[in-house]
């Protein structure tokens, strides 16, 4: 059973509940990317260095997390079949991993968050449609991708897609869209095998492109998307992740396209984007995101001060942070490297949890603001968030001016000091 209920709206931003079987997720939501299998065995939580530490936070493993339970930071996670071979595992190991669904492993049996199983199209396309381990290569098509996704025991699956690139020639883009649409049709044919939600990916940076992507899928399906799928995933934005203007236009136009085609009741997931663009994308109607940036930043020793700024972890002012991790003595000591026998994964694991907490905190605030249905407050929140971001704030101001409330009304009255 899948349902998506909008419980509050403020402008184009919406707060909703995504219910899949007996699991519920509040949106807007950020799915942190988690690499479940990192080459190790079950007692070591399948390894992965800092990935392992993150999984320990996820399942609330007290030797790592201390007295506090931080598993709510991982209430819904994203994992990708393409990450299964990140650690160059052998085929036998892969088969062993996929032999059990994630929650069938004892270590993960208590994890009750949602698992979004991505097909990893971007990475697989880059690897010429292959998944490559230490002693094997597998051609991945839609059926094989779905088989592997289902082996993970997911709550959400998505078709194998062929992400477009800004430099693609027109013909190349069309070909990719058609291949993605064909995969969507194949996933639709096997819909009954999925005991959860099925998302379909669309690709494009602006309305005309998205229109073509939606058309390709509808033509291939021969029926409206919402007859088969439970959500829309907007892909291909990663190469444009630093151009917030493009991101806003893409998400906004995707929502408009959904509206025009009667898919407004479906959730919109934005693949691969998080961080500073997130509040603005929520304001134009994005419902969920996924990203590994919290982890990548930590791996590089970067501590998030807010959505915009990072500092080297040894320069971080932990006292200035109100997140739970920074107010937990154990994790403060870890981030300060004050304990004996600390591994990098221990120090950086706490930093990753902090980084994620910062992003989740912002989304939580946003959810509250939407619940209050006060557009003025949302505008004020966005303004405050981008206050000191010179290059970024013009996009936020533009969005506020055009979509929430004009700064200078035609009658000469002004709003927002």
């Amino acid at each position: 059973m899948v349902s998506f209920d909008v419980i509050a709206e403020a402008g184009e931003a919406r707060r909703s509940q995504l219910q899949i079987n007996d699991r519920t997720l509040e949106t807007p939501h950020l799915f942190p990317v988690v690499n479940f299998y990192g080459g190790g065995n079950e007692p070591a939580l399948f390894g992965g260095g800092i990935h392992r530490t993150v999984k320990e936070f996820m399942i609330n493993h007290p030797p790592t997390t201390g007295d506090e339970d931080y598993s709510d930071l991982f209430h819904g996670v994203m994992t990708s079949i393409s990450s299964l071979t990140d650690y160059g595992i052998r085929e036998k190991k892969l088969e062993e991993y996929l032999d059990n669904e994630i929650r069938e492993w004892d270590k993960f049996s208590d994890y009750d968050g949602m698992i979004f199983a991505d097909s990893g199209g971007y990475k697989i396309l880059k690897q010429d449609g292959e998944l490559e381990g230490a002693d094997f290569k597998k051609d991945i098509d839609q059926d094989k991708a779905l088989d592997m996704q289902l082996d993970l025991g997911p709550d959400i699956v998505v078709n194998l897609d062929h992400p477009i690139h800004p430099d693609d020639e027109f013909e190349e883009r069309i070909e990719k869209m058609e291949k993605t649409a064909a995969n969507a049709r194949r996933l639709a044919e096997r819909r009954d095998e999925v005991d959860g939600a099925c998302y379909v990916t669309v690709h494009g940076y602006y309305e005309a492109m998205l229109e073509r992507s939606f058309d390709a899928i509808e033509d291939e399906l021969g029926q409206p998307i919402d007859e088969v799928f439970d959500g829309i995933g907007l892909g291909s934005l990663v190469p444009r992740k630093d151009n917030v203007e493009v991101l806003i236009e893409a998400v906004s136009d995707c929502r408009r396209e959904m509206q025009q085609r009667g898919y407004n009741d479906l959730p919109l997931h934005v693949f691969g984007i998080s961080g500073n663009a997130m509040p603005l994308l929520v304001a134009v109607g994005a419902d969920s995101f996924d990203s590994a940036s919290y982890l990548h930043q930590a791996v590089n020793g970067k501590y998030c001060v807010n959505l915009f700024e990072t500092v080297p972890v040894d320069e971080a002012d932990l006292d200035a942070c109100d997140c739970r991790i920074c107010n937990d003595g154990l994790h403060r000591d870890r981030m300060r490297n004050r304990l004996d026998d600390l591994y990098q994964k221990d120090i950086l694991g706490s930093v990753a949890a902090h980084n994620l907490a910062i992003q989740q905190r912002e989304l939580r605030r946003f959810r509250q603001l939407i619940a209050e249905a006060d557009e003025d407050q949302i505008a004020t929140y966005l303004e405050e968030a981008v206050k000191d971001q010179k290059g970024f704030r013009k996009f936020a101001y533009k969005l506020i001016n055009e979509r929430i409330k004009p700064y200078f009304d035609d009658d000469g009255e002004t709003s927002y000091a």
Partner: protein
């Protein structure tokens, strides 16, 4: 033992009086003083006699001066005004650069007349000048008249330098006469300003009659017509921005402004280049001081904007020409907030429509220019009787025409790269040849391009035969070269000379 540092008073007076760079600063000081004296009008008269001697007369109906005020007028750094523009006691010292200062003032039934004779000469003799004071009772209404005779304005008041237009611009840009306080202050104190120049200086128009309000050109949000963007204008209403500093202090910035095209901006008393006058002005006492055009950001052109941001927490240099506390947190906070505000202005829908309309009109203008240019080209082409190549693309067209019209040989362009030294590969039907394709053959040799990989020359015409002869006589890249136009070829090199055929198209097409 303690010692008191000494001040060289004469030097101080000379320094302060000389610190004013522009003689028009006397007008700024006069207007500020009259404003501080709550005058309802002020008349300024500037005369210059045939010998270039300047007389300045400033008269207002302000509250006049008593003996203490008069002392402050002549003293240095002894202003008795605390909450006023001229609180430093420096301004009136500009009058010291003169032959005589005469002050007549009436305050509360007391009339005082004061004269300082030869202030500048005395100072330069290293003495402090003195002034006389005569006091009497009177029933005249309050007011002040200041005459400054022999004011040393350099060439600033000379007829070729000073015009009504320049003064009016100065009043609106640099003095309290261009105040934007009336947008913010309900008790705004308005006063009339008149400036008269002697006919010797400027007789082209009547005196300036204005007030101390800076008024923007009339709004013109959406004018009709084809080329109207330059007339468009929008006012951005007054806004009070507040900023709290780390130490808890609160700053208020009063901002008001307009955006407009050149014609609209010209409704203001502009003087010279707009890029030197428009943009984002920081002001104190609502008198503009310096621009901070960085507030606009590189995406936008600052001269469309005329914004005045007043903040009383700015600190100015003695001559009010510069902001002094630029390195402090106050200035940083003001400019940060101003940048945020201007970013919002730049997102305004009307502003973006205005910029889009300008672009569109520019395109339309370029279409008109295209039409003219095409017409001229057509006339020229007709005169020439058809194709007359002036660039490689036209030579290619000529070559195609040559090949298509029964030429003895087939030469087709297989590949062409404009920026390559050997720019063409041609297909002769039998094989591919490397070719240098030029409008004039003589141009090729100017560039001293090696001939190693060139199999053929294709040109519209041979070009400057004298230049080719000169090359022939001097050798080319160290090797002998011979142009044999009877046989249409170039021979290059001493031993194993290479022969390169030349195809000249002009007489064949």
């Amino acid at each position: 033992m303690h010692k008191t540092p000494q001040v060289n008073e004469v030097n101080e007076f000379i320094e302060i009086a000389s610190d004013f760079e522009d003689p028009l600063e006397v007008i700024r000081e006069a207007l500020s003083n009259s404003y501080d004296a709550e005058a309802t009008w002020v008349d300024i008269e500037i005369n210059q006699d045939d010998e270039g001697r300047n007389t300045l007369i400033i008269e207002d109906d302000g509250h006049g001066m008593d003996e203490q005020n008069l002392a402050s007028f002549f003293d240095l750094g002894n202003s008795n005004k605390s909450d006023a523009i001229g609180y430093k006691g420096h301004g009136t010292k500009i009058y010291y650069k003169s032959d005589e200062i005469r002050v007549e003032t009436v305050k509360e039934g007391i009339r005082m007349e004061s004269v300082m004779d030869q202030p500048w000469e005395t100072l330069n003799d290293r003495e402090l000048p003195t002034y006389s004071v005569n006091t009497e009772e009177t029933d005249e209404t309050s007011g002040t008249r200041i005459e400054v005779h022999g004011f040393r304005a350099g060439q600033g008041f000379d007829p070729e330098q000073l015009t009504y237009n320049k003064i009016e611009h100065y009043i609106k840009w640099k003095t309290i006469g261009g105040s934007t306080a009336w947008h913010f202050d309900d008790d705004f104190h308005e006063f009339d300003i008149e400036v008269t120049l002697s006919s010797h200086i400027d007789d082209t128009r009547d005196k300036i009659e204005t007030s101390n309000k800076l008024k923007f050109p009339e709004e013109n949000l959406d004018p009709d017509g084809e080329f109207v963007a330059e007339r468009m204008c929008k006012h951005f209403p007054p806004r009070e921005l507040t900023v709290t500093l780390d130490d808890g202090r609160e700053l208020t910035i009063e901002v008001v402004g307009m955006v407009g095209g050149k014609e609209a901006r010209n409704d203001l008393p502009t003087y010279g280049k707009h890029s030197a006058q428009f943009g984002i002005w920081l002001a104190k006492d609502h008198i503009k001081v310096e621009r901070y055009n960085d507030a606009i950001g590189a995406d936008n052109e600052f001269f469309h904007f005329f914004f005045i941001a007043n903040c009383q927490d700015l600190e100015l240099s003695a001559n009010r020409e510069k902001i002094r506390n630029k390195s402090g947190d106050v200035y940083q906070a003001i400019t940060d907030e101003l940048e945020r505000f201007m970013t919002k202005v730049c997102q305004d829908t009307w502003y973006n429509d205005y910029i889009a309309r300008r672009k569109l009109e520019d395109k339309k203008r370029s279409v008109q220019t295209q039409e003219t240019s095409l017409q001229e080209r057509l006339t020229k082409t007709k005169e020439q009787g058809g194709l007359s190549p002036s660039n490689p693309a036209e030579v290619i067209a000529a070559l195609e025409r040559y090949s298509a019209n029964g030429s003895p040989e087939t030469i087709e362009i297989a590949d062409f790269r404009l920026d390559e030294e050997v720019n063409a590969i041609v297909d002769t039907g039998e094989e591919y040849k490397n070719a240098a394709l030029e409008v004039k053959l003589s141009d090729f040799f100017e560039d001293e391009t090696p001939l190693t990989h060139i199999d053929r020359f294709i040109c519209w015409k041979l070009g400057d035969l004298d230049a080719l002869t000169k090359t022939e006589r001097a050798s080319y890249l160290g090797e002998p070269i011979r142009f044999d136009f009877n046989n249409n070829e170039v021979r290059y090199g001493a031993e194993d000379a290479k022969t390169i055929p030349v195809l000249e198209l002009a007489d064949k097409v």
